[in-house]
Symmetry: C2
Subunit: 432 residues, 2 copies
C-alpha cells in the first residue's frame, strides 16, 4: 500500500498499538473484546498519558485545552501556521467497542510515527487531536468538547464544567482529577485548525452490504433529541382496579412503540429510545411518572422535523385513545443540524481513496451518526473517511473492523493529509 508520496504506514504496528492500548485501559472482562473507557475516567487518563508521551517522543508539541482536548502538533515548514488536523476520540460507551473513535486517533498516531521515521517535512504543521467526551455517556451531551471548541454548541464551556455524572462528580472536577484541565483556550479562534480530517468506522452496514472498503463522507445527517415525561397517577398495584388506572408506564410503552412505528414508515429516518426511567422503584406501585429520551435522525433537518412532527401527532392519538388521565410533555429538546462537509476536504479524501484502493472500492455516503467533525466543519474545512463495520454493529462490545480495513483507512487518511498539504504548498488553496 505505498502512496504516491512513497510513504507507507505500518499496518502491523497500527493494529498492535490499537489492541494493546485497548487491553490496557478500559477492556471489558474476557471473553468480551468490548470496552468501557468512559471520558475522564482512570482508564481514559491511562490512555491519554500514554498518547501524550508517544506524541512527545515523536517531537510533537502537546497542548491541552480547558475542556481536556489534546492537540499534538508536528512542525511544518511554515512557522506558526494552523495545522492540518487528524482528530477523533478515545472515550467509549459503557459497553462499546475498540474502533469507534479509537481507530481515528490511533491512525493519526501511526501517521505521525510514519512521518517521523521517514523524516518527512510537511508544508503546514500536522496535528493529532483527541476530542474529550465525544460519546456523552458519562456527562450528557455527545460531541461535547468539539462543540465547545467550535463555539457553535448551545452548551458553552462553563455549563459543561458544571455537568455532573451519575455519582455527582462535575466535569470540571473530573478534568482536574485526571490532570487534563488545560490552559489553552477551548476556542477555535484562539487555537485554530487549517482543516480537520477524521477517519472513523461506519457504525452501519452500508459499506459491507455494498462490498466497498472506503466511504467518502460528504455530510452528517441532522439530529434532534427530545426529553419526554409521561405523567399518570401513582397507585397500589394490588388494590387499584385495572379500569381505574392512570399508569404512566403503560402509556410510555405505547409511545415508545409509536416512535419505532413512525420511524419505520420513513425511507431512511431513524428514531430511538435508549434511556428510560420510572418514578417508582417499587414493584407494587403503579408508576406516576416515566421519563425517556427520543433520538431522531434524518438525512436533512427538514426530514428530522417531519419525523418528529409525525411522532408527536401519534403521541396525541395514543393519549386520546388511552383516555385514562395520563399525559405527556416534552421537557427539553436539543439537536445538531445537518453538516455539509467542505469540497476541498472531500476532494482530498476521494483522491486519496482512489489511489489507495481504486474506484471500485469507494462509496460516497452520508454519516448517520454524529461526529466531532460535524462541529469542526462549522469553523474549518472538514470531512471524514469511513471504513466498514462488521455486521454494521457499533456501540456494542462486538463492534469489529478488520486490521486490513483499519490499515486502508489510515493509508487514505495519510494520503488525504499529504494531498491537502501539497495543494496548500502549491498555492492552490489560500490558507484560511
Amino acid at each position: 500500500m505505498a502512496t504516491a508520496h512513497g510513504l507507507k504506514i505500518n499496518a502491523q504496528r497500527l493494529n498492535d498499538t490499537l489492541q494493546s492500548t485497548c487491553s490496557s485501559w478500559g477492556a471489558l472482562a474476557a471473553p468480551s473484546t468490548g470496552m468501557c473507557r468512559l471520558t475522564l475516567s482512570q482508564e481514559d487518563k491511562g490512555v491519554r498519558d500514554w498518547l501524550v508521551a508517544e506524541c512527545k517522543s515523536l517531537g510533537c508539541e502537546v497542548k491541552v485545552d480547558q475542556i481536556g482536548n489534546i492537540f499534538a502538533v508536528r512542525k511544518g515548514e511554515v512557522e506558526g501556521a494552523k495545522p492540518i488536523a487528524m482528530g477523533s476520540h478515545m472515550d467509549t460507551q459503557p459497553a462499546g467497542g475498540r474502533y469507534d473513535g479509537i481507530l481515528g486517533v490511533q491512525s493519526a498516531l501511526e501517521i505521525l510515527r510514519t512521518l517521523h521515521e521517514n523524516n518527512i517535512r510537511t508544508y503546514l504543521p500536522i496535528a493529532l487531536v483527541n476530542w474529550t467526551n465525544e460519546e456523552g455517556a458519562r456527562f450528557p451531551g455527545a460531541m461535547m468538547a468539539s462543540g465547545v471548541w467550535s463555539t457553535h454548541s448551545s452548551t458553552p464551556l462553563e455549563a459543561c464544567w458544571d455537568l455532573q455524572d451519575k455519582d455527582g462528580i462535575s466535569m470540571k472536577h473530573a478534568l482536574e482529577d485526571i490532570g487534563y484541565l488545560g490552559t489553552t483556550p477551548a476556542d477555535y479562534r484562539e487555537n485554530g485548525l487549517e482543516c480537520h480530517f477524521e477517519l472513523h468506522i461506519e457504525q452501519g452496514p452500508l459499506l459491507e452490504i455494498g462490498g466497498k472498503t472506503v466511504g467518502i463522507v460528504t455530510s452528517v445527517q441532522g439530529m434532534k433529541w427530545f426529553a419526554v415525561r409521561v405523567e399518570g397517577v401513582e397507585g397500589h398495584a394490588g388494590a387499584t382496579p385495572m379500569p381505574n388506572r392512570a399508569d404512566a408506564l403503560v402509556t410510555a410503552s405505547r409511545l415508545i412503540t409509536v416512535v419505532r412505528d413512525a420511524a419505520l414508515s420513513t425511507a431512511l429516518g431513524v428514531a430511538t429510545v435508549g434511556v428510560i426511567k420510572s418514578d417508582t422503584s417499587s414493584q407494587a406501585t403503579i408508576p406516576a411518572g416515566v421519563d425517556f429520551i427520543i433520538d431522531v435522525r434524518c438525512t436533512t433537518d427538514e426530514m428530522v422535523d417531519q419525523l418528529a412532527s409525525t411522532i408527536f401527532k401519534s403521541f396525541d392519538k395514543v393519549i386520546a385513545d388511552e383516555n385514562n388521565g395520563t399525559s405527556y410533555a416534552i421537557t427539553r429538546s436539543w439537536g445538531m443540524p445537518q453538516s455539509i462537509f467542505h469540497p476541498r476536504c472531500i476532494e482530498a479524501c476521494r483522491n486519496a481513496a482512489l489511489k489507495v484502493v481504486g474506484e471500485a472500492q469507494v462509496m460516497e455516503m452520508k454519516s448517520r451518526a454524529g461526529h466531532d467533525t460535524a462541529w469542526t466543519s462549522r469553523v474549518c474545512p472538514s470531512s471524514m473517511i469511513f471504513v466498514p463495520s462488521k455486521d454494521g454493529l457499533s456501540h456494542n462490545p462486538n463492534e469489529y473492523t478488520s486490521p486490513e480495513h483499519c490499515a486502508v483507512g489510515a493509508e487514505v487518511l495519510l494520503e488525504a493529509v499529504l494531498g491537502y498539504d501539497g495543494k496548500v504548498r502549491a498555492g492552490e488553496y489560500m490558507s484560511s
Copy 2:
C-alpha cells in the same frame, strides 16, 4: 362511640398523634402531605424510638426481634400467655401516604393508651406489633419481616440480613445502625401470638363506591411476581437502519402493553409493571437488554396462574410478531399464595363492626393488597379490618382517610380485641 365494654378511644388524640409523628419523621416537603419513611432509615428510627418510649410509659414490656419487629406487650391476667396482637407497619413507600400501615400501629397505641387510662385488666396480654419492612421499598421483598417471623417465607432471616439497598447497605447493617437488631428470636414458635388483628386502609375504592365505612376482610388475594429480561442487540441509534434493529426496549414496551391488556380482560385480576431498567444509559444506543418486574394478583391462586399463563402466551405472540431477534426470559419468580383468614377473628371483627357502626355500614371483602396478616394467618388465627381510602388512592402522597374513619377503625379494632379476649376468658376458645 362507646363500646359495649364502656370504653371509648380518643379520636382527637389518635389523629393528633398520627399527624404529628408523620410530620416529625419522614414527611415529604409541603404542600405534599405524603411520606417517605423507608424501613430502617433515620426517619424510621425516629418514630420507632418514640413508639418504644410511649409503650414503655404505658407499662408495656418491649421486645425487639432479630429482624427489628417491635412487640410491646401489656400484661393480662394470665401470666406468660401469648398475647392478642394488634399489628401493622410504620414504614412507607418512597412517595407514600400517612395511613398505609401507620394507621394500624397508631390505632394499636391509642388502644393501649385507652386500656391504660381506664385501668382495664384483660384476660390475655395485649400486644402492639410493628412489623419491619412491610413495603419492601428499600430492601426488596414486601411483608418481609412478618414472613420471617412466620417461618413460611421463602426468604429466611439470614438471607434477609444479606439483602442490600441501592446504596449497597445490607439490611443487617441497617438494623444495627439504628439500634434495632434485637435478640428475641424472629420465629413465632419462640415468640408467639395468640392471634393477630390488623386495622388498615383499603387502598382501593370499593368501600367508598359501596358507601360503607368498615370492611371485614376474609382473605387476601394470591399474588405472584415475575422478573422478566428482554434481550436484543445493542447498536448505534444513528447508524442502524430501523429494519435491522433488535431493540430490547421496543419489544419490552409491547410486552408491558400486553400485561395491561391481559389483566384488563379479566374480571378482577390486576397486573402491573412498576420497575423497569434499560441496559444503556446512553440516548444514542439501541438497548441490548431491558429488565422489568410483573406483579400479578387475583382472588385465587388458580386465577393468578391463569392470568400469568395468558400474559406469557401473549408475550410469545409479540416475539413471533416482532420477529427481529429479540427474546424474553423469566429470570425469577416468587409469590404469596392466597390467605384465608380465621373464622374466630373474622367473627370478632364482624361483631365489633356491627356494634360500632351497624350492619348497613359493613361490607365483607377480600384484600387485593398483601399485608403482614397474610403471613400471621399461616401460624395463628388472624384477620383484618379495612376503612375507606379516598378515591381508592394508596402508595401515593395524596392517600387520605378521614379522622372519623380512622377513629371508627380504631374503635372496631378495640372491640374485636376485647371481644376475642372475652371469649377466651369464657372458655369458648381453647387458647392455641
